[in-house]
Symmetry: C2
Subunit: 397 residues, 2 copies
């Protein structure tokens, strides 16, 4: 495979669109410059991952790259560095001036990294820039939406194969291995980006039967015991038995942009309550997809979901049974947990171009987890568009 | 599967041994208390992952757990919290006093997390604790060494199957998928812990032919173009052809503790220089394993390796060709990149119980990557013991 040596792999129009998303928000907050180091943010602004820094000037809409690795990158605004302390001299030599207030990624970078970078710009006022990048990245460009849609199509194709991967006697881990292999054979990149100090994720999470009710330390919608106490989430070696549900929550990263989709499979007949809760999840997704529009509060979607759950009398099982998750949806894109967050105290307002995974799920004791998850795009003047279109019914294994 | 609800899954003796490793170093540095939040450090001190904090007092060798999730943990020194700001009141109610100087994980936690925790202990002096944990964790207990050794045995079994997984016409990615599947079927947990702000890792890295010479932004020993610019490392879809080497660097996490092993396979005859460089890598490993003893400087091992490489006239190809890595080995355990670091400016001194992956590798243009990687234990008065014992020769596919 060949790949350009240009630091920027985005088209000039796409770069301009993304950069202007960021700099507009910077100017609103009075932030003159930003130094970007996080892989997800660098990918957003260049179309590749580099070991180094992007410096953004919000007044001139300009961006410079200071690259440690790889060693072969080229571009009119690209400078090779060995360490961040090299940056001020390069700025001086090239007559580049930066703003009085410099934003650093205080939520994403370690204290030690920020402490070091703050010394590099010790004559400036330092502030946080992560909320700006989160907000900019939450409104996807048409190019980004197309990349997410492509991931959805390819992920859906793999989901259609899941019933054929099941063999009698399999454990949840056995099935997980075969699903992950099919995802990879279909082009899934095999690595997922996730934000947060202590978040770790498998390519595919499979919850079978009562393992869905085991609490986990991770801030995901569902829990699970996990195969080992060092990674206590998801599949735990449960043999798939008659009357169990099998929840498959795999992430579709085929394009550098992800979709998130959950479907439920069953072996044999499952309880009526489980079927009813699954239909309730579908009703929530369809209702929220119908009412979500630019300008709607994210927390209103959460409240609407709770209203539907209460009508069905299913609140004890919603978003977990022994332990409950505090959200029913989240933005998705370069990372699996972006903005907006669909939660009771979310201050996010939906905007055109948001891409949101909705996952109203239930844990029914004795049966397992039910419910669906779809990835949707927020559109002006029409219902959200669903990008994950595998059949939503509980399919038999 | 059942698992105890006890916060501490380690035996009392094992906990005492690990905790005393940590508190001894804390006392040397005059650090009275430490608040631990990082998954790897929490796993070291409890045998499980929790969402919450461990508070350590270095004078009394005591530890308390403040747990947000999972919701079902129990123990005489375990307290449920909703947020870290709840901790001071719990300390006061239970008559727990903490030291004047409180260590936080400034290298591992985000600036924002440290800023928030510093406010919780605003009446105390705050310092870094990560170097203490790194140093403590670098000296493995007998129990930890046994868990690493078990991973090595199980990883070696999978490596023996690699030639049988190859099918003519396969790309590097195709082979990677089948190796990763075999690792998972053998019980590999499928997730690797790695330290560092911007480090991301596949379960198995495969480098075929000249792709090994493509520079990558990541701080690994070898590079590779990667399948996509969003994850520019490792396999890139190169079809395995006659005269290529196939380097397999997969991580063996079967027990919560990892081994690191690299082996090279070839399809057809490869160049004499590649064979010579491969033997040079083996010679370096065997020589360093022979001379490494408690008290030896880590940088001396690096210097000795360079000496051997220069004797063979292979320095242009050592640790990369177009881009060179700055180290030839690293500690391994709960994370894949622990201490000591075998690098020219390392200040680490080898200690009994260190577990070190040595990976003196070469990139030969036109052929690919060669060399081996083994995981060794540092032992008093004898050569290091090798825990990764797959055949070291270049095997035919």
């Amino acid at each position: 495979m060949s790949r350009s040596n240009s630091t920027i792999l985005l088209s000039p129009e796409e770069l301009s669109l993304r950069l202007s998303h960021v700099t507009k928000l910077m100017r609103t907050d009075g932030i003159g410059s930003a130094l970007i180091n996080d892989n997800a943010n660098i990918y957003y602004l260049t179309g590749r991952v580099i070991d180094g820094y992007l410096l953004i000037d919000s007044q001139s809409n300009s961006m410079w790259a200071f690259v440690r690795r790889p060693s072969n990158l080229e571009g009119p605004t690209t400078f090779a560095i060995r360490k961040p302390e090299d940056i001020p001299a390069i700025l001086a030599e090239n007559g580049i001036t930066i703003g009085e207030k410099v934003g650093l990624e205080r939520d994403n970078s370690s204290w030690s990294t920020i402490h070091r970078l703050s010394k590099v710009f010790e004559d400036r006022e330092i502030c946080n820039i992560d909320h700006v990048l989160l907000a900019a990245r939450s409104v996807k460009t048409p190019t980004e939406i197309a990349l997410i849609a492509e991931s959805g199509i390819r992920q859906t194709e793999v989901y259609r194969k899941i019933p054929s991967l099941y063999q009698p006697g399999m454990t949840d881990i056995d099935l997980q291995i075969e699903i992950e292999r099919q995802l990879r054979l279909a082009g899934c990149l095999g690595q997922f980006r996730i934000a947060g100090d202590s978040m770790e994720l498998f390519m595919a999470n499979i919850l079978v039967g009562d393992n869905a009710d085991n609490p986990s330390p991770y801030d995901f919608a569902m829990g699970g015991h996990g195969a080992h106490p060092s990674l206590p989430v998801g599949a735990d070696g449960t043999v798939i038995k008659r009357g169990h549900t099998v929840m498959v929550d795999a992430n579709g990263n085929f394009t550098g942009y992800m979709t998130d989709m959950t479907r439920v499979f069953a072996f044999g007949e499952i309880s009526d309550m489980a079927r009813r809760a699954h239909e309730c999840s579908r009703k929530i997704c369809h209702t929220l997809a119908e009412i979500a529009r630019p300008g709607i509060e994210a927390k209103y979607l959460f409240e609407k979901a709770i209203e539907i759950v209460k009508e069905e009398g299913l609140e004890d099982y919603f978003m977990g049974h022994r332990q409950h998750a505090g959200f029913i949806g989240h933005g998705v894109g370069i990372q699996i947990n972006e903005h907006p967050v669909i939660a009771p105290r979310s201050r996010d307002i939906l905007r055109e171009g948001n891409v949101i995974a909705l996952e109203p799920k239930f844990v029914i004791p004795g049966t397992g987890a039910v419910g669906i998850e779809n990835t949707y795009v927020v559109i002006a003047d029409s219902p959200m568009q669903c990008l994950t279109t595998a059949p939503e019914e509980i399919l038999s294994l």
